[in-house]
Assembly symmetry: C2
Homo-oligomer: 391 residues x 2
C-alpha cells in the first residue's frame, strides 16, 4: 500500500442503529432551547415519528419551528427560509429526510450565520467568501444514497435553460451530529431506493479511485462497497421489512459521503451536475444511469495507461462480483458487466424520460468535467455515453 501525503478531516459524530431515532430529542437538547426542524413531504408525519419527536422536545421546553421543503433545494428556497429564521433565536437546525431535505437544512443552517443571498456564496456562481459561522446542524437521513449526512457541501439547483447545480461548501459544514436509523428507510419507495443506491455506489467507486484518495478513504470505501453489494438488490425488493438490508445500505451511503468529502468524485458526478441543472433528472437517477457506461470507458483507458487505479477496480470487482481470480482486465470487465446488470435490475430510467434529446447532449457535455477521475473522458466520449442511455 502507498501512504504518501494527505489531510483527513471532519468525520461527523454518528449514532447508528435501528431504533436510534428515539434518542434524537436528547441530541437536539444538547444544542439549546430553539430548534428548527426541516422535513420533506408527509411520510415522516404519517408514521407518527415527527409528532412523537416534537412532543418529546416540547416536554423538555424546547421551542420547535418547522419548515417543509419539496424537491431539490433552490437558492430562492434557502433565501426565503433564512430570511424567516434569522429573526428567531435558532440554536440548531435538524433535517429529517432524503438528500434534498438534508442539503436544504445544511444550507439554511449555513445562511443563518451569513448575510445576503445564498447565490452570492455558491461555487462558480457568487463571489462572496463564506465565513463558516453557522447554526449547529443535525442530519437524520431517511434515504440511503446521497451521503449528504457526511459531506461539507449542500447542492442547490435551478433547473432550466440557464440552470445549474452548484455547491455551498465549507469545511465547517460537515454536520455537527448525524443520526442514522435504518427503520426510517423501511418506507422508502423502490424507485428511490434504487436510484439513491446507485448514487451511493457511484460515490464509493469514484472516491475510491479518485486521484485524491488516501489509505483511510480506501479502507472505508471498500467497506462501503461490501455493504452495498450485500444489500442493494435486497433493499429494492424487500426494503419494506428487511431491516438488515436497510442497515447495510444506510451504512454504504454514510461511508460514501465520508469518502467523497475527503477524496472527491469523478466523471459520473461531473456530468450529473450540469445534466441535473438543465433537465429535471433526479440526482440519483442521473448518477445511476451514467455509472455503468462511464465506468466501461474509464476502465479501458486506465488499463491501457497501466494506471494503478486498475488494481482498485479489480479489488472492487472481487467484492461486487464474488470472482476472486483472473487478471485485472478480466476483473474490470466483470465489474462493468455487474454494474450494468445492477442498473438494469434496479430499473433506473433512461434519459429520455426527463425530456433530454440527442440534440441536448453537446450542451451538457460542454458544461461537464471529470472532477478527480484518474483518467479523463473527452466531450465526445461523454456525448457517446449519454447517447447510449438516452432511450
Amino acid at each position: 500500500m502507498e501512504i504518501g501525503q494527505f489531510v483527513f478531516s471532519g468525520i461527523p459524530r454518528v449514532t447508528f442503529g435501528s431504533g436510534s431515532f428515539s434518542g434524537l430529542n436528547k441530541i437536539v437538547r444538547s444544542y439549546g432551547r430553539n430548534v428548527l426542524i426541516v422535513t420533506g413531504g408527509n411520510s415522516l408525519k404519517k408514521t407518527g415519528k415527527l409528532d412523537t419527536l416534537i412532543a418529546d422536545l416540547e416536554k423538555d421546553k424546547i421551542k420547535v419551528s418547522l419548515y417543509s421543503v419539496s424537491g431539490e433545494p433552490s437558492p430562492a428556497m434557502i433565501d426565503h427560509a433564512a430570511a424567516e429564521f434569522r429573526k428567531k433565536p435558532i440554536n440548531a437546525v435538524v433535517s429529517i429526510g432524503g438528500g434534498s431535505v438534508l442539503d436544504a437544512g445544511k444550507a439554511i443552517a449555513a445562511m443563518l450565520g451569513e448575510e445576503g443571498s445564498v447565490e452570492d456564496y455558491l461555487e462558480g456562481v457568487g463571489t462572496k467568501k463564506l465565513s463558516g459561522v453557522k447554526a449547529p446542524f443535525i442530519a437524520v437521513p431517511t434515504t440511503a444514497g446521497t451521503g449528504s449526512e457526511a459531506t461539507k457541501n449542500a447542492v442547490l439547483s435551478i433547473v432550466g435553460e440557464q440552470g445549474y447545480k452548484k455547491s455551498l461548501r465549507h469545511d465547517n459544514y460537515v454536520p455537527d451530529a448525524v443520526l442514522i436509523d435504518p427503520e426510517l428507510m423501511l418506507s422508502c419507495p423502490k424507485a428511490i431506493t434504487a436510484s439513491c443506491g446507485m448514487d451511493a455506489l457511484s460515490q464509493l467507486l469514484e472516491s475510491y479511485i479518485s486521484v485524491k484518495a488516501n489509505p483511510m478513504t480506501d479502507a472505508l470505501a471498500l467497506s462501503g462497497i461490501k455493504a452495498f453489494s450485500e444489500s442493494f438488490l435486497i433493499a429494492i425488493e424487500h426494503g419494506d421489512h428487511d431491516i438488515i438490508a436497510r442497515e447495510k445500505m444506510a451504512y454504504a451511503s454514510f461511508i460514501s459521503g465520508i469518502t467523497l468529502a475527503q477524496a472527491g468524485l469523478g466523471t459520473v458526478h461531473g456530468i450529473a451536475g450540469p445534466m441535473g441543472g438543465f433537465f429535471p433528472v433526479p440526482h440519483g437517477t442521473a448518477c445511476g444511469t451514467l455509472l455503468a457506461p462511464v465506468l466501461r470507458i474509464l476502465a479501458d483507458k486506465l488499463i491501457s495507461m497501466n494506471h494503478p487505479a486498475v488494481k482498485k477496480l479489480a479489488e472492487a470487482a472481487k467484492i461486487i462480483t464474488g470472482i476472486q481470480n483472473g487478471d485485472d482486465s478480466i476483473l474490470c470487465a466483470a465489474l462493468c458487466d455487474a454494474v450494468d446488470s445492477l442498473t438494469e435490475k434496479a430499473g433506473i430510467p433512461h434519459l429520455c424520460s426527463f425530456g433530454i434529446q440527442e440534440s441536448d447532449l453537446a450542451k451538457i457535455a460542454v458544461a461537464s468535467d471529470n472532477k478527480s477521475s484518474p483518467a479523463e473522458l473527452s466531450q465526445s466520449e461523454m456525448i457517446e455515453v449519454m447517447k447510449g442511455i438516452l432511450n
Copy 2:
C-alpha cells in the same frame, strides 16, 4: 458483514506527510497568539527543527512558552505544569514527541480548563467530573506506536508499590489537530521503534476483535494492520533512512489510536496497565512482550467457543503471514507464530529486565482485567502468560 448499532465520533483533523512539519506554525497560528510547546528530551532540539518552529512562530508575533518532560507523565508533573501555565493566557498546547509527551500535553491542555489536582479526575482514582473545557491541543508524534495522537485519553502513572497507570478521559480530549511527519521518526532508536510498533500492533488487533468494534473500525484496523505488516521489521532495521517504512508505521500507529478510541482494547492492555504501575516497564515493551502469549490463549478460547472473532483473527493472519488458504484454526495458529517471531526479531526485552519476579505476578494479575476482549483470561492464565515471558 454485520452493521448493528454503533456510535463513531471524533476523528481529529490530521495532516499527514513527509515534510509536513514545516506547516505546523500555520496550524498553531490559527488558534491564537500564545502557545505552549511541550517536548521530551533533546532530540528535537538537536535536529534544529524546534528552533526553526519557534523562530517561525515568533516572526508571526506568537508568544511561545516551553515545557520539557522526561519519562511517562505523573499527576505531580501535570499539576506543576498546570499551576505554572494557568497564570498565562495560553491559546493552544502543542506536544511534539513520543506517547509520553503527547499524553503530558493532552493532560496539561485539559487541566488548563479545570481546577484542582489532576488526580481528582483520574479514572478509578479521583471522584470529580471533568467539564471537558480545555485549551486547544495539537499533537505531533515523533514515535509510531501509542496512537495518543488520535485518542481521547491521557495516561498518567505513579510507579511503585502503590503505583497505578490511569486515564484522564473525556470525549473532548481527542486532539483538535494532528500533524504527522514521518521524517520526525527517522531518528527514533531501534528499541523504541520496536516496542512502540508492537504496541501499535496490539492496539490494532485488540480493537479489531473487541466486542465494541464496528464496520468502520474494522475497515480502518485492517488497513492499519496491512501498513504495519509491510513496514515493521524494515522500520527497525532501516528506520534511519527508509521514509516509506516510517510513513507506514506512522499510519499504522495513528489508525491504532482511532480504532482503540472507538472500539476499546483487550487483555494485553488490561495487564500492561497495572504492570506499568507497579514496575518501570515502558508501555510499548509491556504490550509487545504480552501480545504473542495472550493471543495464543485467546485464539484457542475463541476457536473452542466458535466465536465470530475467529474469522477476524483469520483475516489478520492473511495480511500478516501472507497465507491465503487454510481453515480458520490453521490461520489463527499461523498468526500466533508470526507474532511470536516478530516479537523475537524485534528484540522486545523480557519482564525480568524491569525487576519483575515470579512472586510479583499474582499481584499484577489481581489488578488486571480483560477490557473489551471477546474472551476472558482468568487470573491464573494471566499469571501463566507472564511466567512465560519473565526470563
